[in-house]
């Protein structure tokens, strides 16, 4: 399945690169361990070769290589994070939605129109800016398929900007533990084609409080 958002696409690339590197390292460590245990098991005669106390060149080498690989991971993770951060601050003419989280529901107020509960309808292909605040404890707005989450705090607005390219129904979860019904504080983000979205908006303005798909 193609990632539905640019953020998700960046995540997939990074995540699978990390997985490849880390799986490789894990395999090397495991194979080396098993190989060494078999080769140097006491039942096998290893001759009189003396153990090596230390070997500065190896020690420096694996320190430097580890350092370099980690630095690379950091840079790529940071670049992708910066794009996310830049989205949040610089996106032009996004669709504005206010989000209020309270135990245990999500309320959405579209800038000049409908209000909804536990469902957010948005058009595909257009940046959406959420201004989020909590009425009680800390919650976290999490759409797994978008690979995106941000905490929703009381007394302090958080902003999250995203753009979805693929229409569909996406699960919304609360990711920060918020008490009794934390695991039932779920909703959905309904991403529609621009035409469907316009139709939905006009339907909603004639019958303001219903929750239509």
């Amino acid at each position: 399945m193609t990632p539905p958002t640019p953020t998700a696409a960046r995540f997939e690339l990074l995540f699978w690169s990390l997985t490849a590197i880390c799986s490789f390292v894990t395999l090397v460590v495991l194979i080396a361990m098993v190989g060494l245990v078999l080769r140097f098991h006491h039942a096998r005669d290893r001759g009189d070769a003396e153990p090596i106390r230390h070997h500065n060149r190896y020690e420096v080498a694996w320190t430097v290589v580890t350092f370099a690989v980690f630095a690379g991971m950091f840079v790529f993770g940071a670049l992708a994070f910066r794009e996310l951060d830049a989205d949040t601050r610089e996106t032009e003419s996004p669709l504005e939605v206010s989000v209020t989280a309270k135990r245990w529901m999500w309320k959405f107020d579209h800038a000049d129109g409908p209000r909804e509960i536990d469902a957010l309808h948005v058009p595909a292909g257009r940046p959406i800016r959420l201004s989020m605040i909590s009425e009680d404890v800390i919650h976290s707005f999490f759409v797994p398929k978008f690979r995106l989450k941000h905490d929703v705090l009381p007394g302090r607005a958080s902003t999250l900007v995203f753009r979805v390219d693929t229409p569909g129904n996406y699960q919304l979860l609360c990711a920060e533990y918020c008490g009794l019904d934390h695991s039932r504080m779920r909703g959905r983000v309904v991403v529609m084609t621009p035409d469907d979205y316009t139709a939905w908006r006009s339907r909603r303005s004639s019958q303001p409080e219903g929750d239509t798909p």
Binding site: T26, F40, E59, H150
Partner: protein, 547 residues
Amino acid sequence: MTATDPPPTLRTASVVKAWLTTTDHKRIALLYLVTILGFFVLASLAIAVVRVELLTPEGDVVSAETYNRLFTLHGIVMVWFFLIPAIPTVLGNYLLPLMLGARELAFPRLNLASWYVFVAGGLVALTAMIRGGLDTGWTFYAPYSTRFSEGHVVLTVIGIFLAGVSSIFTGLNFIVTTHQLRAPGLSWFRLPLFVWANYATSVIFVLATPVLGMTLLLVAIERLLSIGIFDPDRGGDPLLFQHFFWFYSHPAVYIMILPGMGVVSEVITCFSRRVIFGYRYVAYSSLAIAVVGFFVWGHHMFVSGQSALGSLLFSVLSFMVAVPSAIKVFSWLATLYRGRIHLYTPMLYALGVVALFTIGGLTGLFLATLAVDVHLHDTYFVIAHFHYIMVGGMVMAFLGGLHFWWPKITGRMYSERSGKVAAIAIFVGFNLTFFPQFMLGVDGMPRRYHSYPDSYTALNVVSSCGAVLLAVGYLLPLVYLLASLRRPRDAGDNPWAATGLEWRTSSPPPPDNFEVQPTVESPAYDYASMPVRIPDWIPEQAARDPA
């Protein structure tokens, strides 16, 4: 025993009194062992119910309220009443003076006091649990913990505060002992790496634990007196709580793993019959972890709304703290090279730790990578990651150390065959339980979910089944280690032909540890002067043993 012995009942009373008033570090270690095992069993039972609940997507075994209280109990008891004290207060207490060639810790009565304070803290926390517990999670995030939670937050917080005081006592004692009571000739770079690891841990105990104590008191103050510190409705800041909490709780992760790394260094050298590869790198890496570990706390807050620049710095520092861990893994592997490897039970555990710690450490890099953490934060990926470190690393190392030093502590050898079976069951059961949780996290299943979307069912079932095998693996040592106590004390002073000073005295050691003050003439792990094979009587005894 002479004819003047008191009658049996009186003797029982005096034995109990002797144990409860002892200042012998070895006896205090055993008091701690029994205490923390009790907490381990309690916290395990709580999570067993959680794993049963998670067999199905609906919340149908216990109510959401009970579920939340169970995982909170599991977290609080495991972290503060088992993992943090486990290796330092049991193996550290028992072995530190022996490894240093000392008669005692520097402050024997402070050591006993630490146990009493710990037990008091445990009893306060248990009282809170018995009266209904609390549902904040072990992280106590404000303002949930300070205003909304209806559980016994204040009582629990007092219990943890006391456990923290006990940690500080232990840390202080270890630091002074290591500085002051080393045997003649035992210079810093001749110390066993277990001592280095406990020293680094003690530094964290002393520097970080006060911050935890202060933070928890602030939670109690806000809750009781409605003074706004963390609650924005009262002029506080909830992120302030997270900064305080993780300033302690991330270093606390290293409190939990560093002593385990020390155990691994002792065991791998002994069962490879050779010196550790790169002693100084391994020793300094413990200190590096302890120091850099203080500056990475913000990686718990990448999606909390902290500044983007702050997140960048915390990310880069988190990668840096992983470098010394990698050095340790490479050094352990290099220690196997040209060794004469013996696969006894402690060695199986040590190799298991190296494998699982590698996975736990590398998955930590995913969480340190900013854009990846945005998705993985607060999902089961995090749960799997830290259980690979805490259980795969720390609990396995604790068990490995317990098996390694069991003949020293009790004078008896356990059934080697049962030991191997248990080690393998734990390794397999552990991976079955926690590997699926990585996949659940990547799929986006959040932690602390009583009910969950249907798509996560299959992996949860696998995880719960693995937990059964893991539980069986944990029960086995309880059985065969206790059974070994009925045997004669025939393990000898040094059954593994190991090099540390602790092996140069009788098993168990006399009250003053050594008949003659030992001196040290050679570096640690001088296996060149020891037999290249571990004497054969152990397998013979295991063959005789019906278990």
